[in-house]
């Protein structure tokens, strides 16, 4: 399956070296290329789904077919009939890594997942192509009633709980790509944290696209019950191929009264991936929802994690870092909707553009009528490393009440000649100096990450920066 790459292509992809390896797998089932009713029915058949889910998929397919492509954001040059929508890599899900087929286990070994699991995670899901191939959860958590499973299993094993929330935060009609995901979704995480249960260590999912022209459409649903808390972390990578692949996830989060959820994403897609993801959370009374979103790589990312503050006292915080390099467009941002009084929202967005990369911040702050005394603050800073690169800011603000506090600060800076000279005059190389300045720029966000991810984030930035300065 692996395509030969030329020397110049190899140079270009050198930056994502660690992730740019391909695994030869046979797979147990691959749907035909393209999307139609037959493919959707086939996916539903293989998964042996209840009728309501099959109908959900088929209805969503109709919506997908009717909806035009979005006219804003980035240029999407995708042939939807030239993509594989479903690829099942193995027959069963492993409960230990020994149960996972060797070549796939090897992939996750290289990505360091089993090692991280031993050290600092409370549970892990690993998805390869369309299916979750490994899952674990600490025993004491399952005894407390915590559910952490792949979403397909949840359809079978927790049908009532799942059906109560599935598609309620992001209905298929939300946007064209949410409809596409709803039609062909496979895998993703399902988490339920019962009332008052605090999960101390993060739960992690890792999404790996391996095959060429592959579409990955995971579907994640997280329910944090009253007074409970969880930190969920996802990582995403793919190797480089000559044709584009598509990652289009839907993530729905429900944070009930006094509960807390932090959702951290560090993605480092190869730069031929279209990453078109819909993420939204509902936060109820005095609950807190935080999105921490690190976007590196991909050809085009369009992603705007959202928090709807549904009841008084809810808080929504979004921290986002976007890094775009040659041939990449990060159209990333955030949405905060204040639907109740005394709700508080904050967006901190940092973007870096280099080697002709383009980063856009696109954000919405909406205060509904009746959301008295709400507060919202947006800070977005862009750093541009060379004249070929570009940064844009598209802030949308809709305020339906008078007695609210809304703040918006935006800055765009270029790496200053004086900063560069200062570091060089102390013996640093140009790329060490610019890496240091960039890492300094995102430091306020990186320090919010768990230590291991902060180290990884800094390493990724370093990889992106190496050889970036002529």
């Amino acid at each position: 399956m692996a395509t030969d790459v030329t020397a110049s292509e190899r140079d270009q992809i050198g930056e994502i070296n660690k992730y740019n390896f391909r695994t030869e797998t046979t797979g147990v089932f691959k749907a035909q290329k393209g999307i139609n009713k037959e493919v959707v029915n086939q996916i539903s058949d293989i998964k042996n789904e209840p009728d309501w889910m099959r109908k959900f998929r088929l209805d969503a397919l109709e919506i997908f077919e009717q909806r035009p492509m979005p006219k804003w954001g980035g240029a999407i040059d995708l042939d939807f009939q030239d993509i594989y929508y479903y690829l099942k890599p193995t027959d069963h899900q492993g409960r230990t890594w020994d149960d996972v087929p060797d070549e796939i286990k090897d992939t996750f070994d290289k990505l360091g997942i089993p090692e991280a699991e031993k050290k600092f995670l409370a549970g892990v899901k690993a998805q390869f192509e369309s299916e979750v191939i490994y899952g674990s959860l600490q025993e004491d958590l399952s005894k407390k009633g915590v559910l952490f499973t792949d979403t397909d299993s949840a359809v079978r094993e927790h049908p009532e709980l799942l059906r109560e929330y599935f598609g309620t935060v992001i209905p298929p009609a939300d946007n064209k790509f949410a409809a596409l995901n709803s039609a062909v979704w496979s895998g993703g995480s399902f988490i339920y944290v019962p009332k008052g249960v605090h999960i101390e260590f993060p739960l992690q999912a890792y999404f790996r696209i391996n095959a060429e022209s592959m579409g990955q459409f995971e579907r994640t649903l997280i329910i944090v019950d009253e007074g409970a808390s969880v930190h969920y972390v996802e990582g995403c990578t793919a190797p480089m191929y000559t044709t584009e692949s598509l990652h289009s996830a839907v993530v729905e989060v429900i944070v009930k009264r006094n509960a807390r959820c932090r959702y951290t994403t560090i993605q480092n897609w190869a730069n031929n991936i279209y990453n078109l993801v819909t993420k939204r959370a509902y936060a109820y009374g005095d609950a807190t929802m935080e999105w921490v979103d690190g976007n590196l790589g991909s050809k085009l990312t369009m992603k705007y994690p959202a928090v709807h503050m549904m009841e008084p006292g809810a808080r929504g915080e979004i921290l986002s870092i976007a890094f775009s390099s040659e041939g990449q467009h990060q159209d990333a941002g955030a949405k905060l909707v204040h639907s109740a009084p005394n709700t508080t929202g904050q967006i901190i967005s940092k973007s870096i553009s280099k080697n002709g990369g383009r980063s856009s911040y696109r954000g919405l702050v909406k205060v509904d009528p009746g959301a008295h005394q709400s507060k919202n603050n947006v800070v977005c800073d862009a750093l541009i490393l060379d004249p070929e690169s570009r940064s844009d800011t598209y802030p949308y603000i809709e305020v339906g009440e008078q007695d609210v506090q809304i703040g918006h600060e935006a800055s765009v800076s270029r790496i200053g000649e004086e900063q560069m000279f200062y570091l060089l005059s102390r013996g640093l190389s140009e790329s060490e100096a610019s890496t240091m300045i960039v890492n300094g720029f995102i430091e306020p966000l990186v320090k919010e990450l768990p230590m291991e991810y902060a180290v990884e984030m800094n390493r990724l930035i370093q990889l992106q920066m190496e050889g970036s300065v002529g």
Binding site: Y422, S425, R426, G427, L428, I437, N439
Partner: protein, 276 residues
């Protein structure tokens, strides 16, 4: 006397322009191993320009002349190569680098300067060894260890900035250091501490010092073997310690009168500076 190599920094006929404007017009200055030179002169005479040109600031174009460090052509070197070759400048107004911790920055700098051939990505000085040395030097400079965790020059007071520059001097141990008004903006106690520290570092490391100053304290602790007076982009007079003392006592009136052409150019440059 040890058998260690003797270093020399030799500047000949140096002409430097900023944009299209000539600032330095033929500067000659030779510094021997471990020597202390005072560089004095009224505002706008080109003292900082000389320092920045020696370090290779991209905004300062050398149009003629040469700078040799132990016979090596400094003008062929990038600023980081100059640092690795043993040149250092304590800046008058060092720039802030938000988010970058002093310790992290200094560990990279120290490693590169001590191992000039280090390739990028090769190991840094081991953390434990570096921390110990940094802590020792900071204690010596009576700096709070907390300082190492702060971001480079970010939100520093004037005095903190100057002390941070002196700390870098102490860590990097250059062959030749240019100190650009490292005593300005400090109160009397801080000036004394800075002066003593520099004398201590310079003396221990046998460093050549080119001290740009308007005050006498720094030179009291670091008595110069030579004093150079700059006016209108040239060194118009060179003397010993007594010349610095005279200028502190009586100011630049005698110099301005003695070198009318240079004085006219100096006024011209000052006017252009204020016009910008």
């Amino acid at each position: 006397m040890s058998d260690a190599p003797k270093h020399q920094l030799k500047i000949e006929n140096l002409h430097v322009s900023v944009g299209d404007k000539p600032i330095l017009r033929g500067v000659n200055l030779t510094m021997g191993h471990g020597q202390t030179h005072a560089l004095m002169g009224p505002n706008g005479s080109g003292k900082s320009t000389l320092g920045l040109a020696i370090m290779g600031h991209p905004g300062y174009e050398v149009t003629d002349g040469s700078i040799l460090l132990d016979g090596e052509d400094v003008l062929e070197m990038e600023p980081n190569e100059r640092a690795r070759a043993g040149l250092f400048m304590a800046f008058q107004r060092p720039v802030a680098i938000p988010g970058v911790k002093m310790a992290d920055f200094l560990r990279h700098a120290t490693t590169n300067v001590r191992r000039p051939d280090r390739k990028e990505g090769e190991d840094l000085i081991p953390m434990r060894e570096f921390r110990k040395e940094l802590k020792d030097k900071m204690q010596h400079l009576r700096m709070d260890v907390e300082f190492a965790r702060r971001y480079v020059n970010d939100g520093f007071s004037g005095g903190e900035m100057k002390r941070a520059e002196i700390l870098q001097l102490a860590m990097l141990q250059p062959k030749f250091a240019i100190l650009d008004e490292t005593d300005s903006g400090l109160d009397a106690d801080a000036v004394r501490l800075a002066s003593e520290s520099i004398a201590d570092i310079g003396g221990r490391e046998k460093m050549g010092l080119l001290i740009i100053t308007h005050h006498d304290k720094l030179l009291e602790h670091n008595p110069p073997e030579f004093t150079h007076v700059m006016l209108g982009g040239r060194i118009v007079e060179t003397g010993g310690k007594e010349l610095a003392e005279e200028l502190h006592r009586s100011g630049y009136d005698r110099i301005r009168t003695a070198y009318p052409e240079a004085e006219a150019r100096n006024q011209e440059m000052l006017n252009e500076e204020t016009a910008v």
